[in-house]
């Protein structure tokens, strides 16, 4: 149970349900939102590019967290569902549909495809379900490579023109930042609230003990499919934003390795918490960026070492981070954050 500040009482049902509970938290939240959307006026394109990439990843990882963290269903196909979103958006834009309409459509189409690949979840779980979702990771890119190449561009893929809104062209990191971060904020609020709804509680019940949940009257199959839909919907949105970000998409961009990275982000951030995907994504994407920039510096410092060896710091750091978290903090950064908050509120007392 969360430790509250002294004097913070529930004075109404609405107050009991509130996420933001007092004036101080409101001020902090508004200040954070204002700062978040003011960043493009102060940061360079490189930093904004990293933030955009983090934002897109957060959306995809939120989706995976709904499936894995809330419902306990393992998926190795998140990148493939992103591909569905990306191709849907790019194909619709190519057909003359506005990107702003294509964006939710991408989510919906990916969600429906997610339901399709969620069907085996009725009969199988754990590793077996992971293998079933792995099939999505194989079939979906194959589909875009080989089927209706007139629409999906075959192997070379599709190029997407930057979206427009009036006179604004979303072709720079600064302009793309706004739709991406807006989607991140909306998706984060939705993910936070899903866990507090009847559906969310049912998902948590299935995760904790599916048999007990069934006995309590929670129909497993439909709830699992809803979780698959939501997860893939988020991935679809992320995919559409990725198409805007990359402008050129092909099936190779949505690899199994990407799905594994998203899984790693959920684990590092902490499963079953809306904060987890944010912290996990920032941590791993940050680590990736740092190691990428570190390799050329080390290469100059130690010219006798091969560049490839130094550049391999990135994949190594990912593996080491994942291992350390699994061993020492399996509940992830969000749990560590909760402990930190509790310690701060209880200081100077240890307990």
């Amino acid at each position: 149970m969360a430790i509250r500040l002294a004097g913070d009482f529930d004075i109404s049902y609405a107050h009991d349900m509130a996420i933001i509970r007092n004036r101080g938290q409101w001020v902090m939240t508004i200040a954070f939102i204002v700062t978040l959307f003011a960043l493009p006026f102060f940061l360079d394109a490189h930093t904004l590019g990293i933030l955009n990439l983090i934002g897109i990843s957060i959306i995809a990882v939120h989706g995976l967290n709904i499936l894995l963290g809330y419902t306990g269903q393992i998926s190795l196909g998140q990148a493939a569902f992103m591909a569905v979103g990306a191709y849907t958006a790019a194909a619709l834009v190519k057909a003359g549909v506005s990107f702003w309409l294509a964006l939710p459509m991408a989510g919906l189409v990916a969600g429906l495809v997610g339901i399709l690949f969620g069907l085996p979840s009725l009969r199988i779980k754990g590793f077996y379900l992971a293998m079933a979702t792995l099939a999505a990771q194989m079939i979906i890119p194959w589909f875009f490579r080989n089927v209706r190449t007139d629409i999906f561009g075959g192997m070379p893929g599709l190029t997407m023109q930057p979206p427009r809104l009036g006179e604004i062209i979303f072709n720079s990191q600064a302009t793309m930042y706004f739709p991406i971060m807006l989607t991140v904020v909306v998706c984060t609020i939705a993910a936070k609230n899903i866990a507090r709804t009847r559906l969310g509680r049912a998902l948590l019940a299935i995760r904790d003990n599916d048999l007990a949940a069934e006995v309590l009257g929670i129909e497993q199959f439909s709830h699992k499919l809803r979780a698959f839909f939501l997860s893939a919907f988020y991935a679809g949105l992320a995919g559409a934003l990725w198409a805007m970000y990359a402008r050129s998409i092909n099936p190779e961009q949505f690899s199994l390795l990407s799905s594994v990275w998203y899984l790693g982000m959920v684990i590092v951030g902490g499963m079953g918490s809306a904060l987890g995907p944010i912290l996990g994504t920032i941590f791993l994407r940050g680590l990736e960026e740092i190691t990428t920039q570190l390799a050329p510096v080390l290469s100059k410092m130690f010219p006798q070492l091969e560049a490839g060896l130094l550049a391999a710091l990135g994949p190594m750091a990912f593996g080491v981070a994942l291992m350390l978290f699994l061993v020492f903090e399996p509940r992830g950064l969000s749990h560590r954050w909760e402990i930190l908050k509790a310690a701060w509120r209880l200081r100077p007392f240890a307990h």
Binding site: P156, N171, N250, Q253, P296, K300
Partner: protein, 455 residues
Amino acid sequence: MKKIVVLVTLVTLAMVVLIACAPTPTPVPPTSAPKPTDAPKPTTAPATTAPQPPAAATKPAEPTKPALRSKANPGEKITLYHLGDVTGPLAAITTPLVSGFNDGAKYLNGKGGIRGAEILVEWSDTASKVELGIAAYNRFREKKPLIMQMYGSGETEALKDRLAEDKVPVLTAGVSAKGSYPPGYVFAVVPIYTDQFGLFLDWLVPNWDKVKPTKGQGLDAPKIAFVTWDTAFGRALETPEVKAYAEKKGVKLVAQELFVAGAPDVTTQILAAKKAGANVIYTNTLAHGPAQVLKDAVSLGVREEFLIAGDNWSLDLSMLALAGAASEGFYGVFPNLWWDDADHAGVKIIQGEFTTNARKPAERSVGYLLAFTFVDAMRQYIEKTIDRVGFEGLTGAAVYETIQATPELKPMEGVQTFDFGKDKRAPSRARIVQVQKGKFVYLTDWMTAPDLRPK
């Protein structure tokens, strides 16, 4: 114990962050090399073969050129940027590019840099991930690059429009048709894959009776199967232009068999090609692709039933090492000179620098050779631009204009030849080579590839 581990982890991470944020140390010019103001003199190659520094077009650079350096800007520096997959599935081929690039810059700095300006190099690994390519480009873009080098088709294609918007010309080794055309700021360093295949057909058809397999089926005419990677690179020949050209040449494309990059077995694909009636296998991959095809063809006992060939990137020493004796008789399209061209002035320089810098034998690859050459190409294009607009007018857009307006450029005395134009974004020259006794032997003189760019 747990606290100690956490503490150590945090301290390590903090150190990593601090190192990453530290300013990039300015590379110290090699002590053995002359300062830019000194008269250039060769440091490694023997006197009889010491080349003059290559400069505009095909002429050697004149020693007086560094005088153009402005005295008001004694510390002039020009940074050349390159990004590519130093890690990831293609790393075996691409890693030596970094060493080649560094050694090339070091050598040219010893020769006076770019009109006296010191050449600096910055690179970034993309691990074959487009998102890392975009991030690296954003980082370099802030520094207003004059010209960049890229290696992968993926990042080239993704960045193509941005490069045009930002007016940053790029030389790319990822020579997919989608990345190179319609013409923009991307210039391919070798003929695009479709053109290479067209050139291969131009050679194959008239020579069929001489080179056709000794055994096999339907040997009256070439019947080609693509046994290649299931990637955009591997499947770059799936274009209507290629089909139409093969038909025009009387060549049948009978099958396309795909495999995953790094697959340890392609026997199924080879047998499927045989079943489809193929007598030629063409693979559009890096070196380990044909190595696997060749080894498995031998193990199946069908090597003599196929003429096996590949694109330029399939021709590397690593292919010879991986395939061993099975590589004998392999054909390929070769748009540059090779390490064995020991009498060539440019190759001699590269050989000398490779030895001087104590590079490992594994780095003696196509990547090192060409990266060294790319640096010289960039230097020449920038020098030509300086001659035209001066140091003050030096921008990416100005270099782009120079590249388009230079009908022929021979970096490193002609290790490669670039002949870009207003609507031409890739070279056309190449030769056909064959592996004979573990070496690449030229079978033809320079040929001009047909134009099979996408319509």
